[in-house]
Assembly symmetry: C2
Homo-oligomer: 348 residues x 2
């Protein structure tokens, strides 16, 4: 049974990809290998690395209701972990409506003095389909609790009911409303995976609509290219235990979001956008991340556009594993770096 599964996977990753790869230059044959858990990370991250592949990584419901059920099951599982997290980090989460959009206000017991007038806007991950409601606030709770910022997390509308541009419209509605009452020079935007995509798209959209830009942004392992381009879709296939491989569940969810739109539209695949004038940006990824390439490509594009952009890459981590275990020293390290970056570029 194990062998059968491996053979199926081998066929899957050997399929010619639709876009982003040369059809003429010689490909490379990479033999099967058994990779051990490295000793070069903390025991907590070792545990993340040793975990089996996400059970639903390639479970694709064939109806909208099937997706809703899968999303609901995931959300319930995540929500169960939140009360303990809130208690540990001494953080309060309150639902609200901002400019007609559902959101959460996330407040730590102690706001750091330098963050008194600062506000972060968070856009959650989940491949544009998962993480509704409270389940989407985990990363924002980490930021509020570990780094003592006040955070607004946008509970944007999602497929299968609301494809693009609903999520981005919702995030922009919150951005518009919050920048009307707060100084955008004291504000940052962050989020990972689909939230990293939306963080970048929000800045592109703010530029386009001549809205104020944030003072800094922190896209974590952004789904910056929904066309399938990005070399680590191949190199880290079956190595990343979170997303596992291109064309599986996460990309099927993203397809519900893009819903027939041009995938090269920078509002959908921000790596194709014009990054000139972007605020200082800190990007986070891991060496096993399926989106390693789509993180470093954004970094290079930002640098080539003259943007102050910095990159942190964590040893052995798969997609977005830097906010999976609150007790991992690497988690604190990643958030500390982002907070120091915000502290450097957000006005007090």
């Amino acid at each position: 049974m194990k062998i059968k599964k491996l053979i199926i996977s081998a066929i899957l990753v050997a399929l010619p990809l639709q876009a982003g790869f040369s059809q003429t230059l010689a490909p490379r044959e990479v033999p099967a290998k058994v990779i051990a858990v490295p000793d070069t990370v903390s025991p907590q991250i070792q545990k993340q690395i040793a975990m089996p592949l996400t059970p639903t990584w390639n479970v694709i419901p064939d109806t909208a209701e099937g997706w809703r059920e899968q999303v609901r099951a995931g959300a319930i599982a995540t929500e169960k972990t939140i009360p303990a997290l809130l208690e540990l980090l001494k953080v309060k989460v309150e639902p609200t409506i901002i400019n007609g959009v559902k959101a959460f206000v996330i407040t730590p017991a102690v706001i750091a003095p330098q963050n008194k007038d600062r506000l972060l806007v968070h856009v959650h991950g989940g491949c544009f389909v998962s993480g509704p409601g409270l389940a989407g606030t985990v990363e924002a709770i980490y930021m509020a609790g570990l780094e003592h910022f006040k955070v607004i997390s946008v509970d944007y509308r999602m497929p299968p009911d609301y494809p693009y541009p609903a999520a981005l419209d919702d995030a922009m509605a919150v951005w518009k409303a919050t920048t009307a009452t707060h100084d955008p020079k004291k504000m940052g935007i962050f989020g990972s995976s689909a939230g990293g995509n939306l963080t970048l798209a929000m800045v592109l959209r703010a530029k386009q609509d001549k809205l104020p830009l944030p003072a800094a942004i922190a896209p974590g392992t952004p789904m910056s290219d929904l066309t399938g381009a990005g070399d680590s879709f191949q190199t880290n296939a079956m190595i990343d235990n979170v997303l596992v491989a291109y064309g599986a569940s996460c990309d099927k969810r993203a397809a519900l979001y893009t819903n027939g739109h041009d995938l090269k539209d920078p509002m959908l695949s921000p790596v194709y956008g014009d990054f000139k004038g972007f605020p200082p940006t800190i990007l986070t990824t891991g060496t096993r991340d399926l989106l390693l390439s789509n993180t470093v490509r954004v970094h290079r594009k930002l640098r080539n556009a003259g943007v102050l952009a910095t990159l942190q890459v964590f040893e052995g981590q798969s997609h977005a594993q830097f906010y999976r275990d609150i007790n991992a020293p690497e988690t604190k390290e990643a958030f500390d770096e982002i907070a120091m970056f915000f502290n450097q570029y957000l006005k007090r």
Copy 2:
């Protein structure tokens, strides 16, 4: 024949590694895959990615004379490319002796005004055994020609004749002599692979011996850990077409250098060193680099020691491919970033 070669490789990469990996936590089985050349890089880098594995990646001579012959053949091939490179970049290379150590003075036709009083010291790569004489100057010629710095490249002694600490002693002799006549605040050290190891070891040694430190350093894809630890030794095995896999030629050459010394000695594996007080550091690697982990581990360790350290990771590149093609836009990009970094932290 092709299939036979692949099977041999599969056995090689499946062998349990000596150090740096958990023997108890569940490993992951990664199926065989065929990886295409990505479209997300320049045509020049595509050509690098499409190249077959380095022909000598696992050719291990069994005598010192065998090594000398292999090194000589490689050096002759590299030297042949140098006259055209010098002409294209308008750079002059002159052999010299500094404090008893062979070196080259590398001077561009035009030194940039801001670099008039600055001096860079270069330590070449080649797994501590390859790149003697002129063949070791390529990276230094790129830096001088593309970025208009004067560079001293150390032609340090190497195994099989001279194991550790000969190379480091030679580099330090040059460092001592040049900092006696130049202001170290106007000096930087750079080098890749074994040269990245030596760049880091030089700073550790300068700290230990209370010598002046450089104003900034640029270790490219450093061989920072000679114990075999580093997750990308597994994840990028048979994906990196330059070094290809751990335990092959490059590591066998490094073993001639370490020659029975404790591999965890920071002078041999600088990732285990104390990075407190290090000068600003810029690190360069690629997503397919076998030393991706050992580059990002140094970055994290530097950051955790409070050092200003920045990381650039190039899409699709294997080990040190950022100085393989002078015409690749990514080459210029990598050297421009390093030069901007030096410009920021070296006094004029």
